[in-house]
């Protein structure tokens, strides 16, 4: 199975690779900006799992490069994982549109740009799976991260539309909605231990959800309930909360 990982330096992506390495004849195509790290990671995968791995330079925000990037892959993927993302700094994004745009383009626009190319190929081949890592942060806007949250909201909506469209082409689209995950993205935050997932566990959960053909997956499971509660708070009250 050819597996294309976009944003492969993400800690979550690395553990997704570990979980998918048990797929028969797994060949990983690792794509991200930092190719020095990718070189090490691809070597690690080949040693750790005795699978094939190669790596490619890819920038989600360099939209015009995407078609060429995809065309140049030596073999077309059977599975594509969108793992790149940028949390950014909310307060900076409020003052500096450049930064806001970077957050939006990384989490949303870049994903649309590359996934439309992938979708066209999968639709033509009548097979394939797309896994997108969005976030529970997209389920309700909060003052502490609404630029990131709104981009993730758009991405979640996009994935659900894409799933609807690709259904008839025998292409499966899965949306992952993690809560807190202990990765380099959150390493400087003091996260509540009980609600924070380990990326290794998340990686395995993604594999399991994939094997079962799930459409959306929350992780940890408690987030499903938490977000239900958060979403049911009336706006007149919610706007006063400091979340």
């Amino acid at each position: 199975m050819n597996i294309l990982i976009l944003g492969a330096n993400s800690d979550i992506a690395k553990h997704i690779c570990d979980a998918f390495a048990k797929e028969k004849d797994a060949h990983f195509y690792l794509a991200s900006r930092n190719t020095t790290d990718l070189e090490k990671f691809s070597k690690d995968l080949t040693i750790r799992h005795q699978v094939k791995a190669s790596y490619y330079s890819f920038d989600a925000t360099n939209f015009t490069s995407h078609q060429k990037f995809y065309d140049n892959l030596p073999e077309k993927p059977d599975l594509v994982v969108v793992a790149f993302g940028l949390l950014g700094e909310q307060q900076l994004a409020e003052k500096n549109f450049q930064h806001a745009a970077q957050i939006i383009n990384t989490n949303y626009t870049g994903a649309v740009s590359i996934l439309e190319i992938v979708a066209a190929d999968f639709a033509a081949r009548k097979s394939g799976t797309i896994i997108g890592i969005s976030s529970v942060a997209g389920l309700r806007g909060r003052q502490s991260n609404y630029i990131y949250g709104s981009a993730k909201a758009a991405f979640t909506t996009y994935l659900s539309g894409l799933r609807n469209r690709m259904q008839k082409h025998n292409v499966h689209v899965m949306t992952i909605l993690p809560g807190f995950v202990a990765t380099k993205m959150t390493q400087d935050m003091d996260l509540p231990q009980r609600l924070t997932a380990q990326p290794k566990v998340l990686g395995q959960a993604v594999y399991q959800a994939y094997s079962r053909g799930k459409n959306t997956m929350y992780h940890k499971k408690a987030w499903c309930l938490i977000m239900f509660v958060i979403r049911s708070i009336p706006e007149s009250i919610f706007k006063r909360l400091s979340l």
Partner: protein, 438 residues
């Protein structure tokens, strides 16, 4: 990126003490150098050391150093980054017929931590410490320079870093030798001994066994003092490398510490000893169960409650071992609040590392729940240990007095000289090294 990190409360495996620390991540070397220059800095792996050896105001986590860099199946030589855990290595290489030459009682320790504590396993009497199988260490010095240390190059630094508790630099990567095996199971023999004399005799009688460790009933007194179950192990050779995944339990919350009292502990020990009916039992167990019985209960350190616990591990040279153990076990039995699991092992010869713990003799380890009388009691044990030329293991320690440490580790001065020569003295320190004046 700027050097502002939020402080977090962290602790060792014993959950005592808690320390407010800035956590830095070891990914970018030039940034690391800046962090080290701030001083009060120490490396941290998986935090499985019991006490305060991986605690400081600035902590460098090796969590991001997770890569395998090279493996040669002909020689068994593995090069990996220091944050790789023993569990990662077993997961990847057991199915291919390789195992660790030396492993501690948990697989959730990093290569960096295993080297820095120069850990020992149940086969120390044959093969020595972890460092015997370390062929090279890539070390980041306080000045930012990265050097290789091994038995040919920077030898002194190599011998100081193995067992050096993170006080010589940040281990970035290491080359270690794995051993070939042909089975994922262990042939186990369990031998029951009725008292200390019989227990020690059983160790000597079964010296040839590759692995040996005894669980000892630390609550037994009088003629039962030192009764034990000695577990011996040999790698099976059934050419079956399939690993059965162990079941997992979890202790998600601190247990009320009242649950652990002299009665529950005595009952547990009694039951554990009596569960083996015959004098000798042969069976076959999977490797995880033999080496890592506690790993199937995640966060078992919560069992001891909110105030935490510590482990007291000492070694006594062979010649006086029986008499010393008799006295110490007597004291522990009187104290009453001993632990569920106390473990006795036979050590082989000491190596030439400056701060490595093992020396030829018997080592005994047991847990104690934190309580106001504990440290005073342990100081009494220290005195006995010192009288019999023994010492206490740094990886478990959270309280030994500095003078006791200096009196029992005889190469501290040389170690300090090496530390000074690389500018580490006022840059790298843990709560432990400060307490002990290393």
């Amino acid at each position: 990126m700027v050097l502002n990190f939020i402080a977090m409360k962290i602790h060792g495996w014993g959950k005592y003490p808690y320390q407010e620390a800035c956590i830095h991540h070891a990914s970018n070397h030039s940034e690391l150098r800046k962090v080290i220059q701030q001083g009060n800095c120490i490396a941290r792996g998986l935090g499985r050391s019991y006490g305060d050896s991986a605690l400081s105001a600035n902590v460098i986590s090796t969590q991001q150093l997770r890569y395998f860099l090279d493996f040669n199946p002909k020689t068994g030589l593995l090069i990996c980054e220091s944050g790789v855990s023993l569990a990662d290595i077993i997961d990847a290489f057991l199915p291919r017929g390789f195992f660790l030459a030396v492993t501690p009682g948990t697989k959730f320790v990093t290569i960096g931590g295993a080297i820095a504590s120069d850990v020992h396993g149940k086969n120390h009497h044959h093969v020595g410490c972890f460092s015997e199988f370390v062929e090279n260490i890539e070390l980041l010095l306080p000045n930012g320079e990265i050097v290789n240390c091994n038995r040919q190059q920077n030898q002194e630094l190599f011998h100081a870093t193995c067992g050096g508790m993170g006080l010589t630099g940040i281990i970035l990567a290491a080359t270690i030798k794995l051993i070939p095996i042909t089975s994922s199971t262990i042939q186990q023999r369990t031998i029951k001994s009725a008292n200390l004399n019989a227990t020690l005799a059983a160790f000597h009688e079964h010296k040839e066994a590759t692995y040996s460790v005894a669980w000892l009933d630390c609550t037994a007194k009088g003629k039962h003092l030192g009764r034990s179950l000695l577990m011996l192990g040999e790698h099976a050779d059934d050419n079956n490398l399939v690993r059965s995944t162990p079941r997992n339990l979890n202790v998600p919350f601190n247990m009320p510490s009242i649950m652990l009292n002299r009665y529950s502990i005595r009952a547990f020990n009694h039951f554990y000893y009596q569960r083996i009916k015959q004098d000798e039992v042969h069976d076959r167990v999977n490797l995880d169960k033999f080496f890592y019985p506690l790993d199937s209960i995640s966060q078992w350190n919560n069992l001891y409650g909110r105030k935490g616990f510590t482990q007291y591990q000492f070694v006594i040279p062979l010649e006086d071992a029986e008499m010393a153990l008799q006295k110490i076990l007597g004291k522990i039995a009187d104290y009453g609040n001993g632990s569920f699991l106390s473990v006795l092992k036979l050590f082989g010869k000491a190596n030439s590392n400056y701060l490595s713990f093992p020396q030829e003799g018997f080592t005994f380890a047991l847990d104690f729940k934190m309580e106001p009388t504990l440290f005073h009691f342990l100081e009494q044990l220290d005195r006995l240990v010192q009288d019999y030329n023994g010492r206490v293991y740094l990886a478990k320690d959270v309280r030994m007095p500095a003078d006791f440490f200096h009196a029992t580790y005889n190469k501290v001065e040389q170690f300090q000289k090496i530390r000074a020569s690389i500018g580490a003295t006022d840059k790298l320190s843990s709560l432990q090294s400060t307490r002990l004046g290393i």
